[in-house]
Structures are given as C-alpha cells and as structure tokens.
C-alpha cells in the first residue's frame, strides 16, 4: 500500500507537510542548542622564541564553530592574576581560530585564563587554566637552521680568504659586462658625449647599491682619465651623498680633482616615475654615449633603458631584481645578472681577501646544490614508495620543515 492510496484530504496533507517541516526546524535548533559547549583542552603557555611579555592560549574548536552556523560568533579570552578571579576580558578571536596571543602580560608573573564561546544569546565558559608565566628567551631555537648556515658560510669564506692570502691562485671566470666598461667609457669619449650612471630606486641599505658604488668608482676613475663628463642622477639623497664622495675620491685617485663637479651628481626626486622622467630628460638633452644601470630597479627600468637605446648609447645594466632582468637583457648591450653584481667589486679589485670571499660563496653554492639534489631524490623516492616505505616521505617532510625559515 502506498501513501497515495490512503484517503487523506488535501488540507490534511498540507498540515502533515507543515508538521514535518516544523519537526525538521525543531531538530536543527535542538542540535544547535546541544552544540552550546565550552571550549575544551584549553592550554596556556609561554610564547616560544620571543622576547617575553607574551603568553599563548589555545583550545579545541567547539562543534558549533562552523561557517554555516550563524548562532556562534567568537571566542573571548579572560585573564586574572588569581585563579579565583576577578577575570577581565583581554581580547577575542573570531570563529575558526583556536589560538590567542596575549601581549599585555608582565614577565615572571602568574596568570590564569579561561576561554568563553560567545553565541548569539548565550555564552559557554571553559574551566580556568594556569598559571602561565611569560619568560623572555635568550635564543630563538626556531632559527638554529639559519645560525648553522651562517656559521658554515662564514667558515668557508674565512677559509678561502686564508688560502688566497697564502698565495693560492684562485680562478674567476670573465664577466663580459665588467670587461665592457672600458670599451663603453672609451666609446663615449670618442663620440665626445658624457657618461650616465643610475642606481635606480635603490637605497643605501640595499647591499646591491653598495655593490653598484664600487662599479661607479671604477667608471668614475676611467672617466676622469679620459676627461669625460660623468652624470649620476639620484633618487635617494643618502645614495647621492655616497655617490658624490665615491666620484670625488676616484677623480682624486686619477689625478683630476679639478674635473669634479657636484652638480653632475644631483638629486632628482624620490618619486619612481618622476625619476624615470627626469633621467629620460637628461638622456635626451645630454645624449650620453654610455649608460650604466647598476642597482635596484622596478617598473621604470624599461622606460629608461629603451630611451637609452633610442639615443644610440652603449648600455651596461646590472641588477638583482629578478623581475627587471628580462627587460634589461632585451634593451641593453650587457647585463650583470644577480650575483655578478656582487662579484663585480672582487673582479675590479682582485686582492686575496676579495677573491677568497667570492670562492667561499661558490663553495656554499655547491653545498646548497648538493642539499637540493639529495632532497629532490628523497622527495621523488618518497612519492614513488609512499605505500611500501612511508618513512621516506616522513624524512622528506622533516627535512623541509627543518630547512624552512621561521
């Protein structure tokens, strides 16, 4: 017998449907009511690897903490210096999160906490836990990987410097961009045009700007020897001051201090595109025969390099900005790619200490490549042998988490 066979009037059917719907709504709200539970497994502990004045509180998410449940709102954190209270609210965390950092505590003092789940109409309070005591740490254990890498790198650099000092001959491959500096300066001189040098938007705290300063020193010396005007428009006043000093020193070393003119190394503007417009204007008016783009560049790189190309200047670029390298490679005659910028000062000043440090860097790179290769082999083996040998995958995950910087 089917339900349709029963002789039930239309109105009765209507009431039955309403009854079923009512039962469903009741059961859902009943289920939600039963989910009104306090956060469990609440823990308070000293925030690890910090300078103190911080305690962390965590707990298990309550069953009502779901995106679809509008009844549950947030977790509120209460604190007291005494387990029996009075407690005061120190903050809250929206639903979905189960950790709170209280950064308003004093070191070496005991604190007690409870976490309250706040619903629309009611609250549920966890048990009081504690005491938690904040203690400042003397060493960040999470950064032990960085410390080890720093020690290995420093030892390698010092070891190679010592070897170079003892007279061992260390080979450095030729860098075409650096070799071309003399040709570029000579070309500008022959054409009777000035030389233009730009640091881009780099500031003095960028290591690449300091590397560019040593290249500027070499170019300035050559330009003084050839009596060619050198223009260095700047985006940052501190870099301008450093550039002025570097050029002045190079002119003195070349025996031509009279050639130094501070107005050839001006500050233009700190605005990115204002600087690009200013440098483009100088290039179009002065028409330099050689242009050097050395430092840190952003979107203005191609605007300037293409203008340099349009006036027929020989261009040598160098930057560590990976996103701008393709533009320089397309628009310039030579480009120093990434680390070549840093190697340039050793190449220009090949004393044992400089060469040794460069060799130390190369050795570190070889170690890193070795580590990468081993990890790639472990990862591949872990993927292929995930069922028979799950330990390999575990080793891979442990290695990755150890090497990941925190």
């Amino acid at each position: 017998m089917r339900i349709s066979d029963l002789k039930i009037s239309k109105i009765s059917r209507y009431y039955m449907v309403l009854l079923i719907l009512g039962l469903m709504v009741f059961s859902i709200s009943f289920a939600q009511e039963t989910n009104i539970v306090a956060p469990a497994n609440v823990r308070v502990f000293d925030t690890p690897n910090d300078g103190g004045k911080s305690l962390s509180v965590d707990w298990d998410l309550i069953p009502a903490d779901t995106a679809l449940n509008p009844n549950f709102i947030r977790y509120e954190i209460y604190r007291s210096g005494n387990p029996s209270g009075p407690f005061s609210n120190v903050g809250f965390i929206l639903k979905g999160s189960n950790q709170y950092q209280d950064q308003t505590v004093l070191n070496h003092k005991k604190y007690y906490y409870y976490v309250q789940a706040a619903f629309k109409d009611t609250t549920a309070q966890s048990a009081v836990i504690g005491p938690g005591i904040s203690i400042p740490q003397w060493f960040n254990i999470a950064r032990i990987n960085v410390l080890l890498a720093t020690i290995i790198l420093s030892v390698l650099v010092v070891w190679y410097i010592e070897r170079a000092k003892k007279g061992e001959k260390l080979f450095i491959r030729r860098i075409a961009g650096i070799d071309a500096i003399d040709d570029a300066v000579g070309r500008a001189t022959e054409m009777g045009r000035p030389i233009l040098f730009s640091f881009g938007l780099g500031v003095i705290t960028d290591v690449v700007t300091i590397a560019a300063l040593s290249i500027l020193g070499k170019i300035a010396k050559k330009s003084a020897e050839y009596q060619t005007k050198l223009l260095v428009p700047n985006n940052d006043p501190i870099v301008m001051a450093a550039a002025q000093e570097t050029v002045k020193q190079s002119y003195i070393e070349a025996g031509r201090p009279d050639m130094y003119n501070e107005n050839n190394i001006p500050f233009l503007t700190s605005d990115q595109f204002g600087y690009a417009a200013g440098v483009d204007g100088i290039m179009l008016r002065e028409r330099p025969g050689a242009v050097f783009w050395q430092g840190y560049f952003y979107a203005e790189s191609l605007i300037m390099a293409e203008t340099g190309h349009s006036i027929g200047a020989i261009q040598i670029a160098g930057t560590t900005a990976v996103t701008q390298l393709p533009f320089f490679i397309a628009a310039c005659d030579y480009t120093l790619i990434g680390e070549e910028m840093y190697a340039a000062s050793c190449y220009l000043n090949p004393d044992p200490q400089m060469l040794g440090s460069l060799k130390g860097e190369d050795a570190s790179k070889a170690i890193i490549v070795g580590i990468f290769t081993i990890i790639v082999i472990i990862a591949t083996a872990g993927f292929l042998l995930v069922k028979p040998m799950p330990i390999i995958n575990k080793i891979f995950e442990t290695l990755v988490s150890w090497f990941t910087a925190k």
Partner: protein, 233 residues
Amino acid sequence: MRLQIPLIVVLVTGLLLIVTFFIPHEPFGSLEQRFLIWYSIVAGFTMLLGLDSLTRYHLVRIRDKIKGWGFSIVLLLGLFITLGLGFYSWAKYQSPFTLGSPFMFLYTYVIIPLQATMFALLAFFIASAAYRAFRARTTEATLLLVAAVLIMLGRVPLGGWLWHRMVDFADLIPGTHLAGLKNLEIFARINDWIMDIPQTAAKRGIFIGATLGGIVMSIRIILGIERSYISGS
C-alpha cells in the same frame, strides 16, 4: 682614524644586528627596530640635502642658460608652489593630506595623472623591446620567440579560440571523436608548464645566487674587506 672609526661602527652595528636575529631577549630583541628608527630620522634630514642639491642644480642651469633651462624654471616653480601649498594646507586643515585641501588637489589632479602617464609609456617600450629581443637571429633568440608566442597564446582568448578551431578541423576526419580535446586547452597548459617549471627554476636559481652574493657581500662589509662605500678607502 678617519678610516678606522667608520669601519669599527660598521663592524659593531653589523655584528649586533646578526646577534639580534637570534636573541629575542631585551635589549637585543628591539634593537633592529631601534636602528630602523634611527635610519628613518637620518633619512628624513637628508631630504634637506636632496632639496639643496636639486635647487642648486637648476639655479646653475638657469644662471648659465644651459640648453633646456626653461624647464628648470618650471621645475623650481613646481617645487616651491607644492611646498607652499603643503604649508598652507597644513596651517588651514591641520594636515596637508586632508581631502579637499589645495595640496591634495595638486596631488590628485597633477601628480597622479603625470605618474600614470609615465607608467602608461611602458606599454610602448615593452612592444619595441620585445620586437628587438624576439628577432630569430640565433638559436637562443628563436627559443625565446617560440616560448613567448606560446605564453601569449596561453594567456589571451585568441589561444583558446585557435585551439577550439584546430580541434573542429580534426573532427572532420571520419572516425575521430575529438570533442574531449577541446577541454584540454593545450595552449593554457603549455603556458602553465613553462611558467611553473623552467621559468620558476631559472628565477629561483638567480634568486639563490643573488641572495648568497648579498650575504657574502655583507660579510665583506662587516669585516671591512669591502670599503667602496667609504671615501678615501
């Protein structure tokens, strides 16, 4: 002494900052932040140095009637009008950055459009640089050209359209059932592969090399081996 004192300052500062990276305990923990504040203060004052340099540079150009000296007048007028409006807005609105102040009017309707104009030029420069770079003169340039064409096809609607037409064409061959191939979106897949595998590998290689180079350069600076930033070294 003129050389030794800066080198000692650099050594002590460099070592202190390395130590603060590993020791969160006070006074080391907040030292990096403190040094950054000091740098900001010094950098703020050096703006005056920049202003002085800019003004003198253009005054000399005007005085000596150097080619394009008229632009220098425009620049100095722009500089001092902006400065004047900044002070005026500060006095009248308590901040030059208050919306509706003359300074913000200048910023919104002059500086922002000028910046946008310069940035917009990049599109034309990219086109001219790409034309030169993609000329298939050597094997490398040809590879670059092929990769660039594939990437472009994978990123523009034309690539998808072209793939669908190619599949339609193959469907004309009797016995073939290539409807599923349309969803393959081969150009988009090639684009993803080039960007995710060779491109990322090359980028990371350069990045690792540059980072190591930067660290070793920092060691050279801290130990006083690299002195190019000190005049008279």
